[in-house]
Assembly symmetry: C2
Homo-oligomer: 442 residues x 2
């Protein structure tokens, strides 16, 4: 396969001490780099060879650097950054009814736009290059991402009751269609169809939205079986668990991304695997909200594609995928009382290629390979907490932090260099968020 | 109480946007600062008042800064930083027998000294100002800490078999006595007596070491009830659990610091509370080694003093107390399926004053108060992931990271300023660690 001609002339050579093209130790090359042409990876290889082959090319050289695929955050509500730390340590219903629902009713297009910018900045600064977002005012989420060069899967959340964004449901369907029209074949934004959950969407709404998703070939993203209360409620209302409710409606297939999936039976795991449903695993949110521990090792064993997500900043309270990896790897060990489960390579895979596959984008992102999109990050390994270095995947999961990421490239564009944001004004975004918080607080 | 005369003339005024003198929201003062005189806090208060009262004094002003007590890490094996990431995701016995024990047999005084320096650097850079260490070649641990101005409780680990440090046990007792002699009334170093565990120390050794501790008025630090295997082994060998074995020997009192305490019955929790035993809680190590989840909410309810610790970098793989706080708060929520347990203020207390009290040093460190030692840190709040700010303790637990700490003061000495280490050569320490790792690797 000769991608060189198709991809176009080389634009940038990024080199480091290590290049991790996938998620396992086998994919590590020492003293190597990546040649980027336009929005794609042209080729990878030894720095000495690439430097000789492409003289005069623009370069980012990081002698202590580790180059790796950008992280993929498969479940966020990015704009909830404006609620970060507003209310914590509360029972779920009190948290929702006394804090989150009242403040969400005050949301505006501008607040969502500004809050999403803040979250994207935080994501880029901690190594994420793609995110999948479900929220209100989703056009503003997409606008924020596309303006600053962030790759995103974006869906407007729909449910039976009126929305602070579009109002009555009929307007919601129109809003979703407008999003599809606006972002068709966009280089960064992919529109998804997002019913909130089985407890907030009637069977009719769930079915109609699946028809919308099928029409556009889009992902169908839904919160599913997040905790025991959700399962209990579905059993009372429909006589079926949330998973079996969707199955009964004929909605489960390989274009479904199910968020959380904390409470699953053996039979449901087998069913999700058989249907090709993808799962977004959000361990820190599940811990903080006391939802439970998803059976991820069993899901992976059953062949389910699992990606990692942070959920929103109101229930985490960050969007740092390095922290999420560390927590995921440790949580499943103690939950299963087995230190061998969720090893480092499995965890890195879940945060990169697993996430890409969960978004049906495994052919585009998730690894660093010739012909794929140039979404990559560079970590500075010259840090006390990353010294010494014996195994790269182990360090990424158990020792590295988001703050170790110094450069970020998305779709071939350098969006952060030496921890300076190149496509957004960091101080201005924070200042606007403080002003928004002053209004939310009162 | 007039501490001003006793403390001496003021040396430094540290000011910030917020001053957190304790661990609760009630202890927050806005636009305030701390006056340091010698090794102690002289007074705290509004920046405007202090600036007027002490004109011309040296200052560190951080307009976006949060000043808070330095974190207290109550359980480390600091020198294990040289094994960071050497072997992960393995069953405990395979990890110990195939990796840790063989490399520990290669340890030398110099390796322990250098590895401890690296760990101290990492601790200071992530907000810790005191640590309690149990390891081999403990004189070198104490030497490293005292040289760079770090506060430390240091004990040489003793067990029935010969040690890579002192050799036969008789020499171990002499080594401990030498440590007490060398560091009596030291301004930073406090010597402890450290039997390794009930499964590695005979009853005679446990009793003899308690006599040593009592003679010196020292803490008696021991790994206790870390996992189910330890309990099973003690039941088989002594017919008692590890806790009841120590009780039977008459060793439990308020100068005992018990590390881990993962597997405890209701009766044992009540007994530890009655005896005044302190507990070092190390959630990340317990998760990664799949040891289990300590019943910390029940311990706190019973009145047990619990401090937070990271354990060594071979089983964590860092010494970052901010990460440990975040994990602790979330782990107990999901383990108890209750989002209200281990709230942010409780968690910050455990990492500051709880730790100080666990080390029998609550009168000296753990809060910022006139007359106490000047051990404090300053965080930069002007970061995307810390914006907006509604509640300080919540941010410290759920959003802040070790890398947000920009200044650190220990015993009145500025040891880190603007993330530059003032008492150690960062690059040299890392370079020496890489050379040590090259020898360990082969």
């Amino acid at each position: 396969m000769n991608n060189e001609i198709k991809i176009g002339p080389p634009d940038l050579l990024v080199t480091g001490r290590y290049l991790l093209t996938g998620s396992s130790e086998k994919t590590i090359q020492e003293n190597s780099g990546v040649v980027i042409a336009g929005d794609k990876v042209l080729e990878t290889g030894a720095t000495s060879r690439l430097a000789a082959k492409y003289p005069g090319i623009a370069r980012i050289d990081e002698p202590h650097g580790l180059i790796m695929p950008g992280l993929v955050n498969v479940h966020t509500h990015a704009a909830m950054s404006c609620f970060r730390g507003l209310a914590d340590d509360l029972p779920l219903m009190q948290w929702l009814q006394e804090y989150i629902f009242p403040v969400e009713s005050k949301l505006t297009s501008e607040i969502v736009y500004q809050s999403t910018l803040l979250s994207i900045m935080e994501m880029i600064r901690s190594g994420t290059t793609s995110f999948c977002d479900m929220y209100l005012f989703a056009k503003d989420v997409a606008r924020a991402a596309s303006e600053v060069g962030m790759r995103a899967w974006v869906g407007e959340v729909l449910y039976d009751f009126p929305s602070p964004n579009y109002g009555e449901l009929a307007a919601g369907f129109a809003y979703v269609e407008e999003m599809f029209a606006e972002y068709r074949d966009h280089h960064l934004i992919t529109i998804t169809v997002d019913p909130h959950a089985v407890y907030t969407c009637s069977p009719e709404l769930l079915v109609r939205l699946k028809e919308t998703a099928v029409k556009h070939g889009a992902l169908y993203v839904i919160h599913l079986s997040e905790n025991a209360d959700e399962v209990k409620g579905a059993l009372e209302r429909f006589g079926k668990t949330p998973v079996m409710h969707l199955e009964n409606l004929g909605l489960l297939d390989d274009k479904v991304l199910a968020d959380h999936c904390v409470v699953l039976t053996d039979e449901e795991i087998a069913l999700l695997a058989a249907r090709g449903v993808k799962v977004a695993h959000c361990p820190e949110s599940n811990m903080k909200l006391a939802s439970g521990v998803a059976r991820v090792p069993e899901m992976l064993k059953a062949g389910i594609t699992v990606g990692l997500g942070t959920d929103g900043s109101a229930s985490n309270n960050d969007v740092d995928m390095f922290g999420e990896m560390s927590t995921a790897a440790k949580l499943h060990k103690v939950y299963n009382l087995d230190p061998t489960v969720m090893d480092a390579e499995t965890t890195v895979h879940m945060a990169t290629m697993g996430g890409a596959q969960a978004l049906a984008a495994g052919g585009q992102i998730g690894t660093i390979e010739s012909g794929k999109k140039a979404d990559l990050i560079v970590l500075d390994l010259n840090k006390p907490h990353l010294t010494p270095l014996y195994h790269v995947p182990s360090h990424l999961v158990y020792a590295a932090r988001g703050g170790d990421v110094i450069h970020s490239v998305i779709n071939g564009q350098v969006v952060m260099k030496n921890r300076t944001m190149l496509t957004m004004d960091e101080e201005a975004v924070m200042a606007r968020m403080r002003a928004i918080a002053d209004k939310i607080r009162v």
